[in-house]
């Protein structure tokens, strides 16, 4: 725990008397961050960005989990769409930013759409592989007892795939934050991305750093929030002995999140 504190202290001390134009003292940056949040328009920007992320991500979760459950359950569909989904995942959503913003405008709608477009793939693909990871014995049993498909979906498939789905959402979150920033830098009257772009191009360096730090805090805060939700939803899963878990999901943190993420930071 001591390292972050040391880094923070070193940053404060080393930039304290800084006269460098590009690296203003950290205390000044934090000061600017505070005044902009309390009195300037930064709080409004934060809300605008946050709303877009939440809406886009919610849409991606609904569509991604829904489609993922269907594709995962139906073998023919899964085989047929495999290569297409892989290609879709490899296509950089940032490429769509100019296309969508120039045609649909600079409002909130196109940004929500972009965030949705980028973050739906990891959720969808993880849901598919989560459904596949459920042991065939469980499937057969549920089928054998003729459990109605609705009940099966709600009580068997969804909980079984949940660990992977949540790992997918975590990846999607980091993509969503990046797309939020890119779409706002590219064209937007509001938002954090617009704030750092404006202050950067008018050489208000302290404001630029302050905005950047705020985006970092936002990204980290959202991922912590997500982890909390995960612990609430997956308490049963983490409490189980590691041995009883499927081998592949045994190490959620390192294999799932990272392996399933194509571009943690894009």
């Amino acid at each position: 725990m001591w390292l972050p504190v040391v880094v923070f202290a070193v940053l404060i001390v080393s930039t304290a008397g800084s006269t460098s134009f590009y690296f203003p003292p950290l205390t000044e940056v934090l000061d600017v961050l505070w005044t902009e949040l309390a009195h300037g328009g930064l709080f409004g920007d934060l809300l605008f960005s946050l709303r877009n992320i939440v809406l886009g991500l919610a849409l991606a979760i609904v569509v991604g989990v829904g489609a993922g459950l269907v594709i995962g359950e139906i073998r023919t569909l899964r085989l047929a769409t495999g290569p297409l989904l892989d290609f879709a995942r490899a296509t950089p959503t940032v490429g769509f930013v100019p296309v969508i913003i120039l045609t649909l405008g600079i409002g909130s709608g196109p940004k929500v759409f972009l965030i949705f477009l980028g973050s739906v793939w990891p959720i969808l693909l993880n849901t598919v592989s989560g459904v596949r990871a459920i042991s065939p014995a469980v499937h057969e049993t549920a089928r054998g007892y003729r459990i109605p498909w609705r009940l099966r979906l709600r009580r068997v498939i969804l909980p079984g795939a949940l660990p992977q789905i949540l790992a997918g959402i975590r990846v999607a979150l980091s993509i969503a934050v990046v797309l939020m920033v890119v779409s706002e830098i590219y064209g937007s009257p509001d938002g954090l991305g617009n704030f750092i772009l404006q202050s950067g191009s008018s050489f208000h360096v302290a404001e630029t750093w302050a905005g950047t730090i705020l985006i970092g805090i936002l990204g980290y805060g959202l991922s912590v929030l997500l982890l909390l939700c995960e612990h609430l939803l997956l308490g049963w899963y983490h409490q189980r002995a590691p041995r009883a878990r499927p081998a592949k999901t045994a190490t959620i943190e390192s294999i799932d999140t990272i392996e399933k993420s194509n571009g943690v930071v894009v």
């Binding site: 085989l79 047929a80 892989d86 290609f87 490899a90 100019p98 296309v99 830098i185 772009l197 930071v265």
Partner: protein, 255 residues
């Protein structure tokens, strides 16, 4: 196998048909979504032009430079922090914060400090790629079984030899996963930087095409970017299979 291929071709045809239908029906304006035929024509024209291949080269150069530096830094740091628990514990929170930091958000700062140069693009790619490589290397080093660790320790095998002969091979599968992720990330980030700045490359070409009203060309560029990303993923998977043939299949995981 043949049936699967047929299914896959069918799905591709269905998607193309749906695309053509939406474009033809005029649900969205043709500037937002040109038809597949227009995009194919635009792609054909692009493939014949030198400027296009130059742009592809620029993007790849930025991506590869950043990736190589990220690998050179990420693997050693990851292995060392993975072996020494104290180093890992003390750096964990910092890593978490840095990892969840959206690198693209630093772009305005980089533009200020480094200016709009190819070096800046490579730097952003480096920062984006170093974390997947580092964390996977760290995880791989941690996954070396304790019995092996103790044996190596007991025989007092020199530190350097231990890293080279025990920890590096032990962590190799995990490192390969990190490399695969970082390779995809590198292209994505390079294109993202190009979209937002005036640096040459595919990303810049997408933006230019769209601003010139040639959205079919923009889509052709986007699909090219997708093809590059997909090819890299496939190549990385292939390399992984070849390099890690000794790995027991139980650990191979995957589909």
């Amino acid at each position: 196998m043949a049936r699967v291929r047929l299914l896959q071709l069918g799905a591709l045809a269905a998607v193309l048909a749906l695309w053509a239908l939406i474009a033809a029906a005029g649900l969205v304006s043709s500037t937002a979504l040109p038809g597949p035929r227009a995009v194919a024509v635009a792609f054909w024209q692009l493939a014949g032009s030198g400027a296009f291949w130059q742009a592809v080269g620029e993007t790849l150069r930025g991506a590869v430079t950043g990736l190589v530096v990220a690998v050179a830094v990420g693997i050693p740091v990851g292995l060392v922090t993975g072996v020494y628990a104290a180093a890992e514990e003390s750096s964990r929170l910092l890593m978490e914060i840095l990892r969840s930091f959206p690198v693209i958000a630093l772009l305005p700062v980089f533009l200020l400090v480094l200016g709009s140069t190819p070096g800046m693009k490579a730097t952003v790619v480096f920062i984006a790629c170093v974390f997947p490589v580092l964390l996977q290397a760290q995880y791989g080093a941690q996954s070396v079984p304790p019995s092996i660790r103790e044996t190596v320790h007991g025989y007092r095998i020199p530190r350097l030899l231990r890293f080279r002969r025990v920890i590096l091979p032990g962590a190799a599968p995990s490192i390969m996963t990190g490399l695969r992720l970082a390779a995809t990330t590198s292209v994505l980030v390079a294109i993202g930087v190009e979209v937002l700045t005036t640096l040459p490359g595919i990303g810049h070409m997408i933006m230019e095409s769209q601003q010139a009203g040639a959205s079919a060309r923009a889509y052709a560029c986007i699909l090219t970017a997708g093809a590059i990303g997909h090819t890299i993923t496939l190549l990385a998977q292939f390399a992984e299979h070849r390099l890690l043939r000794w790995r027991p299949p139980a650990l191979a995981g995957g589909e």
